[in-house]
Symmetry: none
DNA sequence: TCGAATTTGTGCGTATGTATC
DNA sequence: GGATACATACGCACAAATTCG
């Protein structure tokens, strides 16, 4: 390998990648087998294997034992409009987590009281050990799981009120802002932090994904007059969704 | 390999991973060398190598040629405050891509004219083939590459003006809003879409990462009076950064 | 139903280059 | 320079899954 050249396996990977992105190898097409790659590029078995591994790590292809290596479909990601997004029509920016264009979202949830962990306490601005209501959601979009969410609300805020359980009562499933409004708490700010990481096996199981898939994690906290009233972790499969913000420049 | 067992390299990787997460191998500690692993676990060179590769792909360790394989620090992800984020102090929400708390950002860039691809034309609301100025950036934070960005501006907007080249002239490096203001274009809206995927080998090379690492992709478009004046793709390593939005709930 | 060919996935041994100590 | 350690590369072997006649 001469100076300045990139390794053989990266050269082969780049060539195959090019054929994938420019459409010469469309989704569901089979890549040349390891043996064919070896012949076509004049490289060893190891190099052909490493090249395939690079593309697999990039999520472009998927190996099926005994069959071949196939180009994966990359669905056009759907848009999840977040708070702050104002669609052309004048609909509410809230409870839009499921929708770009009115997709019917359904969800299940389970609530449970617990003591705030150090991290949750930090996010809610309370003392660790204070009691909070934790609610886990699975959101579905047309039956397909699309989003996992876990939210925490301090019981000092909602305790002994009709909205203590997010999904019970007349305001069940209405969203944080409306529920808080019902007990005279005006949510006026929201902080959202977006991160991403490989999904945990457990999450991907629930989301119908494949080990190794990437998820985005949205850490969201609602504030009312400077006090945190709800914080949540939202897990979203990154291959199917994007998170959209529409902001005005002061 | 008996039925139901996992491959040897995964067994070795799991054992080493356990030692890392439980602290037996703290950050900056050196892993056993390939030869040592071979001896300790009674496996071949290949298995030891593959095991290390798994941990490297997970971002837990980093190999230094000639020296060893070291446990990486997993820094609390730094926050990249995006447009819309208003820190307690009243500083400008723009040109904050580099900073949580005043980190000095440096960058390099290279501009070039080209014809708009179908995708870029769509995003800019122009015809494919119209000429645009493409500028590629590498942003650094204390010398470490932290962000790749490619921006496109229609030449119908900036052509034959002092700000045609983003990084030239008196307003070089000033940010889109200020530059556009200089030619009497008032940027009033920005649309940001956050996605995530495994990084391409090329991107991770530039960002100092490892094949397989996750990146976030920020697709950002600035608008002035409903017309797109700049669009950009921003690639950010997800293990080191998060993207923060602070929004008010009207 | 059976079996052969193909292909991936895993594993072994070895060699060479190159960076670090 | 020498020793160590990682990175790349070659060739081979075998098991498991798949495909196909």
């Amino acid at each position: 390998m001469a100076f300045g050249e990139q390794p053989a396996y990266l050269r082969v990977a780049s060539d195959l990648r090019e054929k994938i992105v420019n459409g010469a190898l469309p989704p569901h097409a089979r890549l040349p087998s390891q043996a064919r790659i070896r012949e076509e590029y004049g490289v060893s078995d190891t190099v052909a294997l490493e090249a395939r591994k690079v593309l697999m790590a990039e999520g472009l292809v998927e190996g099926r034992s005994g069959s071949g290596t196939y180009v994966r479909e990359r669905p056009v990601p759907r848009r999840i409009a977040r708070s702050g997004y104002r669609p052309p029509s004048g609909s509410s920016p809230f409870r839009q987590e499921q929708t770009e264009a009115g997709a019917r979202g359904t969800w299940e949830s389970r609530s449970e009281q617990e003591e705030a962990s150090a991290e949750i306490a930090e996010r809610l601005g309370i003392e660790p050990g204070e009691r909070v209501m934790r609610t886990r959601y699975v959101f579905r979009d047309g039956g397909e799981p699309m989003m996992l969410s876990t939210s925490w609300e301090p019981l000092t805020v909602t305790g002994r009120t009709p909205v203590m359980l997010p999904e019970e009562g007349p305001l069940g499933g209405c969203g944080v802002v409306e529920r808080m409004a019902a007990i005279d708490i005006v949510v006026d700010n929201v902080l959202e932090e977006v991160g991403a990481r490989p999904g945990l096996a457990e999450e991907l199981m629930a989301l119908g994904g494949v080990p190794g898939h990437v998820v985005m994690v949205l850490e969201r906290t609602y504030f009312a007059s400077g006090r945190a009233v709800e914080t949540a972790d939202v897990v979203i499969p990154a291959d199917r969704y994007r998170i959209a913000y529409h902001l005005s420049v002061r």
